[in-house]
Amino acid sequence: MTEASLAAPLPRAPRPGHRLPAAAVTAVLLVILGLSAVASLSLGASGIRPWEIWSRDLSPSERAILFEIRLPRLLLGLLVGAGLAMSGALMQGLFRNPLADPGLVGVGAGAGLGAVLAIVLGGLLPLGLQTALGTHLVPVSAFAGGWVAVLVLHRVAHLRGQTSIATLLLAGIVLSALAGAFTGILIFIADDAQLRDLTFWGLGSLAGASWAKLMAAAPIVLAGMALTPFLARGLDAMALGEAVARHLGQPVERIKRGAILAVAAMTGAAVAVSGGIGFLGIVVPHILRLAIGPGHRLLLPLSALFGAALLVAADTIARLVVAPAELPIGIIMALIGAPVFLWILLARRGQLEV
């Protein structure tokens, strides 16, 4: 009897028959990552190739293209892609919901509000502060907005030493709506030029990549990533339900807080430097779960690998299709990612599990 009632809420038994060996998946992902990285460094509006550096003297502008534009952009793409995909995997594990993405803890909406604030009202700041922040005003403000949203949410959902996931979810939706309303007010007072900036920010792009941005974002994203190995086992246990996880001896509260913190760091920094790049956080973990199963110890690092590869590949396409102009990367992600994901859903219906 006790056994039966305990077994009832368990998810369906895993189907190991469909899984691919983890080593093979890792190897494939590494190859994809390597190929997209090489493509990203070698292809672009100008014909310059990285290996030409050994065969001839490069002009200053060719040097700038390789070392000031393509290289920081590649590294930023790896960082943002890994951070967003890992955040998605963490959120789906934490909420035990396949639709969960970083937007649920309000990071996206908060960061969006921060960016819009900076774009529309940045001109009202004291001149000294404006010059000091320069082009970093929008990223800094977006990052701050994301963090404020997470702190407020955590405060709301935290009661007597416990974080309620249900409250977190509802409060996240409410906070996103509120941030959306403030964003709406700002959009209303924005002028034509600012509106266009907002639109482009919302579509996401790595076009502004620079060493300065990379140096600012990298420590934050990497710190978030460094937290994830300590969360994997706990998230696996939480898939059976919070109570079960607690009985299994997992520090459930610490895991929840750690996951929220890691997501806020990775997504906050990623969104701040690249704008609104959606989709990665949902698609990457789901595809990987189909290949290797829902265990977080593999899922989290492989999500980072796959997310990085996918974003760099999408960015390379974004730079090439309409060269010398370029498309916002959000368009490419959705244009390629959505049909592929739909195809996987159709082909493997009923096998998605979180």
Partner: protein, 278 residues
């Protein structure tokens, strides 16, 4: 010897402005002025807003002027980039500056002196100051004359400039816009004096504006005219303009560009506003 030549080259650089042969023009009015100065042959690229003169549209397009990509611009290997004031994003501009490309910002503006100022800045950057001064003077005189002629019209019609009509939600031009400036220069009154910039309009605001004439931009390409959509809009249909079915459609860059074609644009708008005259 080589070192000496190099040193000479460095000292000479500031005086060799005219040697800049690969020019990238960002901004519709900027490109029109470059063409008007007779420097079309030096252009190696343009942005999406450059649509006139038509031969410029065959140049490589580096994208929308507020979302420029650094590598895209550098790939055209420009010596000089002429940028309209609104061009960006700032990160791209900072990177181009770092790559050592000479950039000149051309001020925006929508008053009678703005066109001459743009011409002078662009001509100086191209090393064509003399031609620039002549062109600036000529355009300035043309615009002043066109505005003076337009000012002699009868009672000033109230003109409502509509930027867009997305599913019945209208965006109109308030003060401090190039549309408002053109309406005033052509002898009309802007029907929306209550706010600055372009704003979404409520139905009551449209009724209160009581425009005699609607002014809209022609759609690009072969898209069908939007005129009927505007005149069918319930709030607009009730205004004097709607009842008299008075709607003027003009090319956006021609009307609002504040470039070499501003004087003819003032005349064209004036003629459309006062159909009874001459």
């Amino acid at each position: 010897m080589k070192g000496l030549l190099l040193a000479a080259g460095i000292t000479l650089t500031p005086f060799m402005v005219a040697a800049q042969e690969r020019v990238l023009s960002i901004g519709g009015a900027v490109s029109e002025i470059v063409a008007e100065l007779g420097a079309t042959g030096r252009l190696v690229g343009r942005d999406t807003t450059t649509t006139y003169p038509p031969e410029l549209t065959t140049l490589p397009d580096v994208g929308y002027m507020r979302a420029l990509s650094p590598e895209g611009l550098l790939s055209l290997n420009p010596d000089l980039i002429l940028l309209s004031e609104g061009a960006g994003p700032p990160e791209t501009l900072a990177m181009l500056e770092g790559a050592g490309v000479r950039m000149v910002k051309v001020p925006e503006g929508h008053d009678t002196g703005a066109v001459a100022e743009k011409v002078r800045v662009i001509a100086a950057a191209l090393g064509m100051a003399a031609e620039g001064a002549a062109l600036a003077e000529k355009l300035d005189a043309e615009i002043t004359a066109a505005a003076a002629e337009a000012a002699t019209g009868g009672p000033k019609p109230r003109v409502l400039f509509l930027l867009s009509n997305s599913g019945g939600r209208l965006t109109g031009a308030g003060t401090d816009t190039s549309a408002a400036a053109m309406i005033a220069l052509a002898g009309g009154t802007n029907a929306l004096p209550g706010f600055s910039g372009y704003k979404a309009l409520g139905d009551e605001a449209i009724t209160a504006a009581a425009p005699d004439v609607l002014l809209v931009m022609t759609r690009s390409g072969n898209a069908p005219s939007e005129g009927a959509d505007y005149l069918d809009h319930p709030a607009l249909a009730a205004t004097p303009a709607g009842q008299a079915q008075r709607l003027i459609e003009m090319d956006g860059m021609f009307l609002l560009g504040f470039g070499p074609r501003t004087a003819p644009a003032i005349r064209a708008l004036h003629t459309a506003l006062f159909p009874g005259e001459g």
